[in-house]
């Protein structure tokens, strides 16, 4: 690292402990103006803690944070912190009922005679947006904006405050492919304009694409800091997970081929016929699909193509207007997750915080929630011991890390929360697993583990899998991949490994070679 350049932000010997967990141990990290530093690490490695300390939300137990070489302001002086450093979180924090300009100048509106100067606010907002070439109307209400535009508003708000250090926490998590490309252009422009960026992501290819340097956290320690050009993907993964070997994609490809040969002649387990459903996040306009017994079918498409909606409709958490859904020849009641579950569907929802678990309840209770009626004895009496015994093998199978199965799920890291959600789906020994983006926000090793578990379950129990995802790593475990465009099946690919360019072309609605056109 260049010694002459003054670091925009510096963490020096930062340590932090929560109870018996050492979240960070003696971490040194520096952000330079005009450079983008990637921060990677597994779930629970300490990334969130480091972000909180760098952005003044948490005080370190020891060590310090410095801005441009001088000590950081007091923790209580949030305004001072925000003028130095701002974090754009995974989940949007804009106020939906206010306009873009109001959000940019939230709580520090330009004033005249003590009253808000609306005209100056709009002019200033427009100025900031124009300076960085952001295409958003300052007078628009934020509730009407796309996810991408809201993110722009948050970045603009930071820049308008004079902040020249940005922490981007999983900024691509909710963006579709084009949105990601535009975000990268924006980040490059920011870096070229002298902004220091800390880019936190589980997607290593993104880090290689836009970061000049990368830092790796493992178990609270900074184990590697290096320019990205001197590293390859494998070295980075090794740094993240330590010495744990990760299963290769090739192995999974073979497994999938084996299964597909077996499944070709099997019975039709799930039949979806001409389903029409309206949803703000992607409607279905006559989608049809067949999943055979023991088969793993991938489902992909752009944001808004109805991929998640189709998964939700099958699992019963979203209703539909017309069409039919049959499981083993029997129709499912629209919009009734309880009857879908009773019919044999296990559901891994898209948003685990919203639908995946009850945070205040213990792990074992969440894992067995889907089978509570089955575990209950006479008169519906349900012994906690039986639930705990039923949950134990699932926790082992998924290598759940916790301080005991009585721990509330709220206290687990994101990856382990997802394991609880997956366990809940598997507990009912389903005939069909509907999984929507099951590996989102999960670290590399846990992701492999979850995909392995899904392969294992389909192979050993003969369950079918419908896996809705836009991650090609997920789709790789599927015997077939079905592409949705504007709520209809557009193309289908079989025989993994899949060609990612062809898949992308199909999601964009371009007819690719090598697929079965519908």
């Amino acid at each position: 690292m260049n010694v002459q350049v003054q670091s925009a932000v510096e963490a020096i010997g930062v340590s932090k402990r929560f109870g018996s967990t050492q979240a960070l141990r003696d971490v040194d990290l520096a952000l330079q103006p005009g450079r983008c530093l990637g921060l990677v690490g597994r779930n629970g490695a300490g990334k969130s803690t480091l972000v909180s300390i760098l952005s003044g939300l948490l005080a370190p137990d020891s060590g310090e944070v410095r801005f441009d070489g001088s000590p950081a302001p007091a923790l209580a002086d949030i305004g001072a912190w925000r003028s130095r450093i701002s974090t754009v979180f995974q989940r949007s924090t804009v106020v939906p009922d206010l306009t873009v300009a109001e959000n940019i100048f939230l709580a520090r509106q330009p004033r005249r005679h003590g009253l808000i100067d609306w005209r100056a606010m709009r002019t200033d907002a427009r100025g900031v947006l124009r300076e960085w070439d952001f295409d958003v109307d300052p007078n628009e209400q934020c509730s009407t904006l796309t996810v991408e535009q809201r993110q722009i508003v948050e970045i603009a708000s930071a820049l308008a405050r004079g902040t020249r250090t940005l922490l981007l926490d999983e900024p691509t998590a909710a963006l579709e492919r084009d949105g990601v490309r535009r975000l990268f252009e924006r980040v490059r422009a920011l870096v070229a304009g002298g902004v220091a960026v800390l880019y936190i992501s589980h997607h290593l290819e993104e880090v290689f694409e836009i970061c000049q340097d990368v830092a790796v956290l493992r178990d609270g320690e900074l184990v590697l800091t290096a320019p990205t050009v001197k590293l390859n993907n494998d070295q980075l993964v090794t740094a993240m997970v330590g010495n744990v070997a990760s299963p290769t994609v090739a192995k999974r490809g073979n497994a999938a081929r084996y299964a597909s040969a077996r499944a070709a002649s099997a019975d039709e387990r799930l039949v979806v016929e001409n389903v029409v459903a309206s949803s703000a996040r992607g409607s279905l306009a006559g989608a049809s699909l067949v999943v055979r017994a023991g088969e793993r079918v991938g489902l992909t498409g752009l944001l808004g193509a109805g991929v998640a909606t189709l998964g939700r409709v099958i699992a019963g958490t979203h209703s539909y207007q017309s069409g039919r859904i049959l499981l083993d020849g029997k129709p499912l009641r629209p919009g009734h997750p309880d009857s879908a579950l009773a019919a044999g569907i296990g559901y891994i929802p898209e948003d685990r915080w919203a639908e995946g678990f009850v945070g205040v309840l213990p792990i074992f209770e969440n894992m067995t929630m889907s089978i509570a009626p089955r575990l209950a004895g006479k008169l519906g009496i349900l012994s906690p011991r039986r639930r705990a015994l039923a949950a134990t093998p699932l926790a082992d199978q998924l290598s759940l890390v916790s301080s005991g199965l009585g721990q509330p799920v709220d206290e687990l890291s994101g990856g382990n929360q997802q394991k609880v959600t997956v366990a809940r789906a598997l507990a009912s020994r389903p005939k069909l697993i509907v999984a929507i983006t099951p590996t989102r926000g999960v670290d590399v090793a846990s992701k492999e583990l979850l995909l392995e578990a899904l392969i294992e379950v389909t192979r050993s129990t003969g369950a079918s899998l419908l896996l809705a995802s836009d991650e090609f790593d997920d789709l790789e475990i599927c015997d077939r991949v079905v592409v949705l465009v504007r709520g209809q099946v557009f193309a289908e690919f079989s025989d993994p490994p899949y060609d990612s360019e062809q898949l992308i072309a199909a999601t964009e609605g371009l007819i690719p070679a090598g697929s079965t056109e519908r």
Binding site: G19, S20, A315, T317, P337, D338, A340, L341, A342, Y347, P349, A354, E355, G356, F357, V358, G359, V360, L361, P362, F364, E365, N366, M369, S370, A372, P373, L375, A376, L379, G380, I381, L382, S383, P384, R385, A388, T392, S402, S403, G404, L405, G406, Q407, R424, S428
Partner: protein, 348 residues
Amino acid sequence: MTDVSDRELVATDLATPSSEHRARRRAAVAFVRGAALLPVLVVLVIIGALVSPHFFTTSNLTGVGQQISALGVVVVGESLIIMIGGMDLSLESTYGLAPMVAAWLILPKVDFGLGTDFSPAIGILALLAVGALVGLINGLAIVKVRLNGFIFTLAMTIILAGIQSGIVSGQTLFNLPSGFAYLGTAYVGGVPVSLLVTAAIFIIVGLFLRYHRVGRSIYAVGGNREAARAAGIRVDRIRIGVYVAGGVLAAIGGLMEAGRVSAVTGQQGYGEGIIFNVFAAAVIGGVSLKGGRGGMLGAACGVVLLGLVQNILDLGSVNSYWIEAIDGSVILLALLMARGIGGEVTAE
């Protein structure tokens, strides 16, 4: 505390030795939250003994027991509703209306009854039916029609109180038959029957919440409704069921109160404004207004605390014009203390 024993059990059965002490500590913390009020109750008993020699007499203590019994049954109902993430202000009116309708159907015309002269048994069935019906209306309106629970039950409160005085033209119904008044007046072995019944209700509901799958579903629905739905729990049915149970329990509480004072007045419930005490007891006892947390031990402690405070103020010959201000302040103090002991769980 409902989760406590579960956690303890898992901790001893399944946790690895290295993590066992952590799980134990968690269980201990959860238990302290549930029983946080026990030391406060001890202090109140000591204060009571110091304030008046009359405090430790049988007649005073059984009186307190009778008074808190009626309130306690309503607190059980409200706690269940709060636990599923709802609220029902109209329980206080059900508490007045249900016994009023029942007495009205029982009593002869000279006593301002309807003149149907039903037997007390039918009257009690009618009382339970009124409670169930009001709960069903609330449940359907809130769960199916998706009206705001606060506003809808506020309107119901006023409507029901209006019916309560309307059907008897504002009269008070005396001369309740002994069968009808039994629950609120009788003693068994020197203990009020109402207190025994209320204690039984607390214990049964507490066990139900801990060991029955519907009880566990109540926590799941309150903790995260959508997750509960996705896990196959019939959320709507449970929510409506809890509103119905709340209405029935409020009606039973009303029956106790009517028996205790040997009359049904137009003031019972809404006119007395008991709903503040009902919410206060539940929340002081650790039932979280966010839903999903709390239990019957805490709620019972909350009820006893309010009863003791009221009794001490009565015995302490506090100027009656000031009693409400002091009562309210003590409740506020109890809330703050419960928050201090129970962390963020209690008084949010």
